[in-house]
């Protein structure tokens, strides 16, 4: 497959993108129920039928599908992500507002889990078979088996409600005018529990990948030889193996970044964190068509980009993979 070359690869991704864009358009409209409640805002049931018809007409929902699709594509080409029915403002604004929070959660937890996962995975592989390795392995697999929302709920119960040391929700203290360091601290306090939860649940994946990767390079003889050498040489060997083992890990991390954008839905819900994930869920529940489409698109593009990144990085890191 890889012999198809770069051009073909790009074409395939472009095709996927196009299909995704079209699917993103069709899927929201397939859902039963209608967004009239959103369009009309308050007390939609108290509007007269004429008023409701006027609302539908104004928002273009009564146009034939093809015509709606054409406008959709045209808008996209212009970079216009549309207008939210619910909040009556450009969706780009909404996404730009929420994106940093999701990035904060996803980026921070990616960073922590990458560092912890790589370090622990490497050490575990190096000490393969020993008690510490088996213990760590077991712990990681156990951690990977815990439901994310449950962990989040527990943390809220423990740290926010019972102990009262950390805030239970939100990204910042509302409408407060903190500046400088105080503000950073406030943000950090609010982000602590979500980031900890996300990190804890991401570490096992990185750890296992790193461990496997290292082990696939190491053979028993290699290990025995390494151990028979002096401390300094051992260290050099260790670093050498780690570098070689990073290829798949990098790939996995690059992919994680893409999924992180959508994957924080549950965490953001549990912690009332104003990010993209929560926006998706709210938009879908409220059938806010334009917001749904736009967030779908952002998520899709993110995943595609990270796939591209992974495809790009992997052969450069691991020469063996070039020969399929």
């Amino acid at each position: 497959m890889r012999s198809q070359g770069q051009g073909s690869k790009l074409f395939q991704y472009a095709l996927v993108l196009f299909i995704a864009i079209t699917l993103n358009f069709i899927l929201p409209r397939l859902m039963p129920g209608n967004p009239l409640a959103l369009l009309a805002g308050a007390d939609v049931g108290l509007l007269t039928p004429e008023q409701r018809a006027a609302v539908v007409e104004r928002s273009g929902l009564d146009q034939p599908m093809l015509s709606q699709y054409a406008s959709y594509l045209g808008d996209l080409a212009r970079g216009d992500l549309g207008y939210s029915f619910r909040q009556n403002r450009p969706i780009v604004d909404m996404i730009v507002e929420r994106l940093p929070w999701t990035l904060l959660l996803a980026g921070s937890s990616l960073l922590f889990s990458a560092v912890a996962g790589i370090a622990l995975g490497a050490l575990s592989a190096w000490r393969r078979g020993r008690a510490s390795d088996v213990g760590m392995l077991g712990t990681m697999i156990a951690l990977d088996s815990l439901p994310s929302f449950w962990l989040g709920m527990l943390f809220v119960s423990l740290f926010a409600v019972q102990l009262g040391v950390l805030p239970s929700s939100g990204a910042i203290t509302a409408a407060s005018s903190l500046g400088g360091i105080d503000q950073l601290i406030d943000i950090a306090r609010h982000a602590t529990l979500p980031v900890v939860t996300l990190s804890l649940l991401s570490i096992p994946g990185v750890y296992l990948t790193m461990r496997y990767s290292m082990l696939s390079i190491l053979g028993e003889d290699f290990i025995r030889t390494a151990r028979s050498k002096g401390v300094n040489e051992r260290g050099v060997l260790f670093r050498h193996v780690v570098r070689n083992a990073l290829a798949p890990v990098v790939t996995v991390l690059a992919l994680r970044l893409g999924f992180a954008f959508g994957g924080t839905v549950v965490i953001e819900t549990v912690f009332s964190y104003p990010g993209l994930g929560r926006l998706v869920f709210e938009a879908v529940s409220g059938r806010d068509y334009p917001v749904m489409q736009a967030t779908f698109l952002v998520l899709t593009v993110a995943v595609l980009l990270s796939n591209l990144l992974a495809d790009f990085l992997y052969p450069r890191l691991d020469p063996r993979a070039r020969t399929a």
């Binding site: 395939q12 039963p32 088996s145 815990l146 709920m153 119960s157 028993e220 790939t251």
Partner: protein, 306 residues
């Protein structure tokens, strides 16, 4: 990986080793044999325990979980070891009967995923040019669609029932299996025995059924076990988000009611939130450990069958 389920780009093989050379001991990736076996055994014990609980539920549970047997929100007592839920049903009984629902959903959904994934993977690997290309593109698209909205659509369209939950999860997770199976079939299809069989005039169907399928079976089983772990977690998440059937007594729905009735804001978190989460974790863990052990078993075997 269990709950992660991250797909890898083509050519990236993490769970199966890249062409390793050397002695069979060098090819034995992973922990020493007995440790792997030990891990798998723990997994098996966990899973067996849970299956037993599910089967013997009527004997183990003190009450019928759908019966209102106490006042709402009662704390644990002699009569109700885990207290009661928001309408006075016994939580311990719900937990025990929940084993049935959660395990069933997990296993069946994973089975669905394995069947579809294996079928697609075999076809894609055996006919890599046109059919395989098309199938894998389809897999790619599927993996790209943001899954939460897809879940909601499906739940809304199909209605919230147990059957539909199983269907939805199965549809979501087969893609990963397809990729793994396809990788394996790609390499198998070039083996000597396949070439030989073709030279002797065997039909494709025969080659697949005699030479390919048996050899991917083990991999398929390993994938199935791992997928079960993921499916159990998915069901819990679905129910928690309110996308499952809230009237079913699964572990996920117990947590759903705990959350919407504010249990984790009160002391009730200890007996209402912690136990179901632990059960979910235990089930996912059990299957994950088994899958882990199986995989380490399979790898050297695959190497040996050259």
């Amino acid at each position: 990986m269990t709950g992660s389920g991250i797909p890898l780009p083509e050519g990236a093989q993490v769970s199966a080793p890249i062409e390793a050379t050397g002695t069979w001991r060098q090819r034995l990736i992973g922990v020493r044999a007995d440790s792997t076996f030990f891990i798998g055994l723990i997994g098996l014990l966990l899973v067996s325990g849970l299956i037993l609980t599910a089967v013997l539920a009527p004997l183990l549970a003190p009450y019928d979980p759908t019966e209102r047997v106490g006042l709402p929100f009662m704390p644990p007592s002699a009569a109700h070891p885990l207290g009661t839920n928001d309408i006075g049903q016994d939580l311990a009984s719900e937990l025990i009967y929940g084993t049935r629902v959660s395990l069933t959903v997990g296993i069946v959904a994973a089975a669905v995923a394995m069947v579809i994934g294996t079928a697609v993977g075999v076809l894609a690997g055996f006919y890599p040019r046109l059919v395989g290309s098309l199938l894998m593109r389809f897999v790619d698209v599927l993996l790209i669609i943001p899954f939460l909205p897809l879940l909601i659509i499906l739940a809304a369209y199909l209605g919230r029932s147990l059957f539909n939950t199983i269907l939805i999860i199965g549809i979501l997770i087969w893609a990963g299996t397809a990729r793994v199976i396809r990788s394996q079939v790609l390499s198998l299809a070039h083996r000597d025995y396949v070439t030989a069989a073709r030279a002797l005039g065997a039909s494709d169907a025969r080659i697949i059924s005699r030479h390919i399928l048996p050899r991917v079976l083990l991999l398929g089983i390993s994938q199935f076990v791992q997928a079960t772990s993921g499916a159990i977690l998915l069901e819990a998440s679905l129910s928690f988000l309110g996308l499952g059937d809230p009237l079913q007594k699964s572990w996920g729905s117990i947590l759903y009611w705990a959350q919407v009735r504010g249990a984790f804001l009160t002391d009730a978190w200890l007996w209402w939130v912690v136990p179901p989460g632990l059960m979910i974790g235990a089930a996912a863990l059990g299957f994950a450990l088994m899958g882990f052990a199986l995989e380490h078993r399979i790898n050297p075997q695959l190497q040996a069958t050259r």
